[in-house]
Structure formats: structure tokens, C-alpha cells
């Protein structure tokens, strides 16, 4: 490398590493895309064609029937409604709580501050399975098992600690001088918080909202245990249920899978950078 530092040598090295780069990327992309495209292809088939041997990538009679059946023969409209209610409520509550906590922890010195922070960190180690049996019992004691409210409570118990942890990371990056300036200018504490500082943490809010959304939208285990009524089931439950029938209709299942995945893919396309910044925000400094 050192001796061969001529321009043509460098150029050749760059071309070779370019070929290497693209080879790696293309192979990795194929591994990622095959299952996804196969899901798409299956969802466009009619039932008899899903089980043709050898399997066909491009259906002979492409049809959207599987998609329309989701709304007519299966109650996916209800499942979506339930998922959306649960997820949006838990997103809203966890963002609200974690913004307040993030500001409080970074702006004040108080007794419980240190233990609060380390507790936030320790909760990341709690395996959620530990909460399964307690929640199963506690929610029924209070009569909110098998209800959307119960699920919202369960999901914010996952998201509040992590979102708070993320928001602490984001609030740390905002200089305290801004609070001081605002308060000297006559703002109250609350006004300084929501008028000056909060708007500056919008990227952080987006990140924690996305995290809370993903968690709630994908959660399966707790929903499976805590929800019994068919009219309260969430999307993951609805899809997994298609797997349980004696005869599995793969085209219907794959159509449901695609529809359930769309919200996250669309969110990602528009809000890419917030997906990434959130997870590392807390990592910079504990």
C-alpha cells in the first residue's frame, strides 16, 4: 500500500474494493429480500397455487382476493382498530412521561436523582417474561384483564423506562444556559420547559415515539395471554391465529403479514434518522 501509492494504484484499489462492497451488499440484500418477496408473491396467489410444486415466483393468476378477504371474512378491521387504540395511547403516555422525566433528571439535583437513573438502567435488564404471571393476576384483580386499557398499561410498563432513558440522553445535549436565560427573561419553570426546551428535543421525542410504537405494534406474548375476547384481539394475535387453523391458508396469512408490516416500513421511510438516533442516545453517557 505504502510503496504503491501512485494514482493509478489507488484508483485500482478503489475499483477492487468497490466490487467487493457491491458483492457483499448484493448478496446480503438477496438474503433479506427472498423471504420478503416470497411473502409478497404468496399473498398474490389463489389458494390452489400456493401449494403448487415446484413453487412459482410469479403467480399464473395474480389476484388481490387474499387482501380483500382480510376485511370481509376475517375481522382484521377490528384487529387494526384495537392495535391502533392500544399503540397510540401507549405512545402518547410514554412520550409524555418520559419528556417530563428527562427534563426533571437533567435540570434538577434532588435526592432520588441517582437512584432513579440507575433504576431506569436496571429495568432494561428485566426480562419481560417476569411480568407475565404478575400481570395476569393483577389485571384480573382490578378487573381490567381482557381489556384495551389493560394492554395499554402493560405496554407503557415496557416503554416508559426505555423512553425515559432515551429522553434523558436527549435532554442532556441541550445546554442549561438556555433554561437559565429563559428564566431570567421571566419564564416560569414550566414555561421554560414546554416553550423553549421541549421543542428542541423533537428529534428525541420522535425517536422514543417510534420505539414505543414498534414495541406495542409488534408485541405478541402478553396479548396472547391477556386477551381472550375475539373483538379485543390485536393485529399480531389475528395473524398468528391464521396459523392455528387446521388448514392454513398461506396466501391469506401472507397478505395479513404484509398489511401488518406496512405501517413500520412507511414510518421508517419517512422518519429514518429518528429510528437510529434514539437507540444510541442513551448509550453516549450513563
Amino acid at each position: 500500500m505504502k510503496t504503491n501509492n501512485t494514482k493509478t494504484g489507488m484508483k485500482r484499489a478503489r475499483v477492487i474494493s468497490g466490487i467487493g462492497t457491491y458483492t457483499v451488499l448484493v448478496i446480503a440484500s438477496i438474503v433479506v429480500l427472498i423471504p420478503i418477496l416470497w411473502m409478497l408473491s404468496t399473498s398474490l396467489k389463489i389458494e390452489s397455487e400456493t401449494i403448487s410444486i415446484p413453487p412459482k415466483w410469479i403467480p399464473d393468476n395474480p389476484s388481490l382476493e387474499a387482501y380483500s378477504r382480510l376485511w370481509s371474512e376475517y375481522p382484521f378491521l377490528t384487529y387494526f382498530k384495537n392495535s391502533i387504540i392500544i399503540v397510540l395511547s401507549s405512545v402518547f403516555l410514554s412520550v409524555l412521561f418520559s419528556c417530563l422525566a428527562g427534563y426533571g433528571v437533567t435540570r434538577f439535583n434532588f435526592k432520588a436523582r441517582k437512584s432513579f437513573l440507575s433504576f431506569l438502567l436496571v429495568t432494561q435488564m428485566f426480562p419481560s417474561i417476569m411480568m407475565l404471571i404478575p400481570y395476569y393476576k393483577v389485571l384480573s384483580t382490578y378487573g381490567i384483564n381482557d381489556s384495551l386499557l389493560g394492554m395499554i398499561i402493560v405496554y407503557i410498563s415496557f416503554t416508559v423506562p426505555f423512553c425515559s432513558w432515551m429522553m434523558v440522553g436527549f435532554f442532556r445535549t441541550i445546554p442549561l444556559e438556555l433554561d437559565e436565560a429563559a428564566i431570567i427573561d421571566g419564564c416560569s419553570r414550566w414555561k421554560a420547559f414546554y416553550k423553549i426546551i421541549l421543542p428542541m428535543t423533537l428529534p428525541g421525542i420522535a425517536s422514543s415515539a417510534i420505539y414505543a410504537f414498534i414495541t406495542g405494534w409488534n408485541e405478541y406474548m402478553f396479548a396472547q395471554v391477556l386477551i381472550n375476547s375475539p373483538e379485543l384481539k390485536t393485529v399480531p394475535l389475528g395473524i398468528a391465529e391464521l396459523n392455528g387453523f387446521y388448514k392454513i391458508l398461506w396466501n391469506d396469512m401472507m397478505a395479513a403479514s404484509i398489511i401488518a408490516s406496512l405501517p413500520l416500513v412507511i414510518l421508517f421511510i419517512f422518519l429514518q434518522k429518528y429510528f437510529i438516533s434514539g437507540l444510541t442516545a442513551g448509550a453516549v453517557k450513563q
Binding site: S29, L120, T173, I174, D179, N243, F268
Partner: protein, 305 residues
């Protein structure tokens, strides 16, 4: 965010001198989160701990049995085996995530045409819900009509259909493969973000000092992104150690208990056998295992800071 970092990162985490406060204000801010944590995390955890000392159906029957549940699960070989399976599962999955994720992050951390396009594709597995991922692969690995068997048959690599998820020989490997496919983007995305925050000067300096690319990566780049790696490692380990959904939907823990990782076992103890006390005791053990793992990581990875 960018604008702020120019102003400078706050050096002191708090300030009490210039602004006079009443003592209660901070608690108004952290109050809601604190109450949520105590009511929704601490209380259920303690309650789970409490249940682990009882033989109970969670209804009318509560027999206090001291440590019998714990003695039972440890004298019973199956639980120890399942912890071992879970550790093996987690170790393979996490190591693979880090190797694949870091490698792809390094490849993606170049200025070339089409990189954004590839980055979006490679992140896709992360965006698909676990239920969906499980079902796609269940379909692909279907012994009769699945894509995998038919492709391998066509290529002449196998002569008869393989039951990927139903045979002792392949079930564990298949489940691990799916978990790797689903989880590597998280590591990739985090490492990529960290790599992009490493300043160009470091690379230049290394080049001037005559370090080659591999040396630069292991001696200079990796140490500078270590905080991100450590956090990602802990999260990834805990997440996959307690994993449930994908394995449950693929194999239900079978065949036999070949893929019965610990969360599945706890689920079965609770809701198939209704031994809630025993399941709660298992959960407590899992909690301590996770705690030990993360303490070990911190011990070994954070000591230089």
C-alpha cells in the same frame, strides 16, 4: 440536534445555584414516570417474587411452600437443560448479530453510489413484526410446499424433503437462523450510527502513522465506538435471552423440548400446566441470569473508562 451540539454539551448535569427552586418541582417532573415505574414495574416484579414462594392456581389456592419451587426447578434436570439451551441460543444469535451487523455497518459506512438504497433494504428485517417473520419462515420451511426444500431439491443438494422445524437435527439451527435474520439490523444500525460519529481526523492520523485498514479498525475505530457497542450488546443479549414469539410460533418449543427456550418453558408451566408458583420461580431465576450477564459485560467492557 446539530444546532445544539454546536452550542456545547452541558457540562454540569444540573444546576441549583442560579435558579432558586422549591424542592418539590423536580418530583413534579419525574413524578408520572416514577409512579408508572413503581406501580407497573416494581410492584409486579415484587409480586412475581412473592408468587414464587407459593403453590398456587392464582385463584383460591395459595399454599406457602417456602423455597420448594426453587428446589424443584433446580433438582429437575429439564430446567437446567433449558437454561443451557437458552444460553446457547442467545450466544449464537448475539455473536452472529455482532459479526454480521458490524461487518455490514463497515461496508455501508462508505461514500458510494446506491449505499442509501442498500441500507434501506438491509434494515428491513428489523421493521417486520416478529409474528410476521416467524410465519414467513414457517411457510418457507414448510416440509412439503416450502420454498427452501423445493429450491434445495432442484439444486440437487438434498434428495428428500427435510422437516426443518420438526426434526431434532434441524429445528434448533433453523430457529437460530431466523433469529439471526430478524435481529442483525439493530446492531448494524447502531454501529453504523456510531461509525458515522467517528471523526475523519482519526482515520487520517492512523493513515499517517502507517496503520493499515484492519489495524485502524480494530485498534482505533472499535475502541472509540465501544460505549455504543456495549449498550447494544447488553440490550441484544437480554432481548434474545428472554425471546418468545418467533420460537413459539415456529416450533412451540419442540420437537420434544429441543427449542424450548426459557420464556416458552415459563409460558407452558403457567398456562399449560398451571404451575404458576414454579413458573414465577423460573422467572426470578431468569431475572438474576440477565442481571449477572449485564454485570459481567459492564465489568469486562467498561473497565477502561
Amino acid at each position: 440536534m446539530k444546532r445544539n451540539s454546536k452550542v456545547g454539551i452541558a457540562k454540569k448535569p444540573f444546576d441549583t445555584k442560579t435558579i432558586s427552586l422549591r424542592n418539590i418541582t423536580p418530583y413534579l417532573f419525574i413524578g408520572p414516570a416514577l409512579i408508572a415505574l413503581v406501580a407497573l414495574v416494581v410492584y409486579p416484579l415484587l409480586y412475581g417474587f412473592y408468587i414464587s414462594f407459593f403453590k398456587t392456581n392464582l385463584g383460591n389456592r395459595w399454599d406457602f411452600v417456602w423455597l420448594k419451587n426453587y428446589l424443584d426447578i433446580f433438582s429437575d434436570k429439564t430446567f437446567v437443560t433449558q437454561v443451557w439451551i437458552t444460553l446457547k441460543f442467545t450466544a449464537i444469535v448475539v455473536v452472529a448479530h455482532f459479526i454480521i451487523g458490524t461487518f455490514l455497518a463497515v461496508v455501508l459506512n462508505q461514500k458510494r453510489k446506491g449505499i442509501t438504497f442498500f441500507r434501506t433494504i438491509l434494515v428491513l428485517p428489523w421493521l417486520f413484526p416478529e409474528v410476521v417473520v416467524a410465519l414467513i419462515f414457517k411457510w418457507i420451511m414448510n416440509p412439503l410446499y416450502g420454498l427452501l426444500n423445493n429450491a434445495l431439491l432442484e439444486l440437487g443438494l438434498i434428495t428428500e424433503n427435510i422437516s426443518w422445524l420438526g426434526s431434532t437435527k434441524f429445528a434448533f439451527v433453523s430457529v437460530v437462523a431466523v433469529a439471526i435474520w430478524k435481529g442483525y439490523p439493530l446492531v448494524m444500525v447502531n454501529v453504523l450510527a456510531a461509525l458515522q460519529s467517528v471523526s475523519e481526523d482519526i482515520y487520517e492520523a492512523a493513515k499517517v502513522d502507517g496503520a493499515n485498514k484492519i489495524q485502524t479498525f480494530f485498534k482505533i475505530v472499535l475502541p472509540s465506538i465501544k460505549p455504543v457497542l456495549t449498550t447494544t450488546l447488553i440490550l441484544d443479549t437480554v432481548w434474545w435471552f428472554k425471546h418468545y414469539t418467533i420460537v413459539w410460533l415456529l416450533t412451540n418449543g419442540g420437537p420434544g423440548s429441543d427449542t424450548s427456550i426459557i420464556s416458552i418453558e415459563i409460558y407452558k408451566q403457567s398456562f399449560n400446566y398451571f404451575s404458576f408458583g414454579k413458573a414465577a420461580a423460573m422467572s426470578v431465576v431468569v431475572f438474576f441470569i440477565c442481571l449477572i450477564i449485564s454485570k459481567l459485560y459492564r465489568r469486562f467492557l467498561d473497565n477502561e473508562d
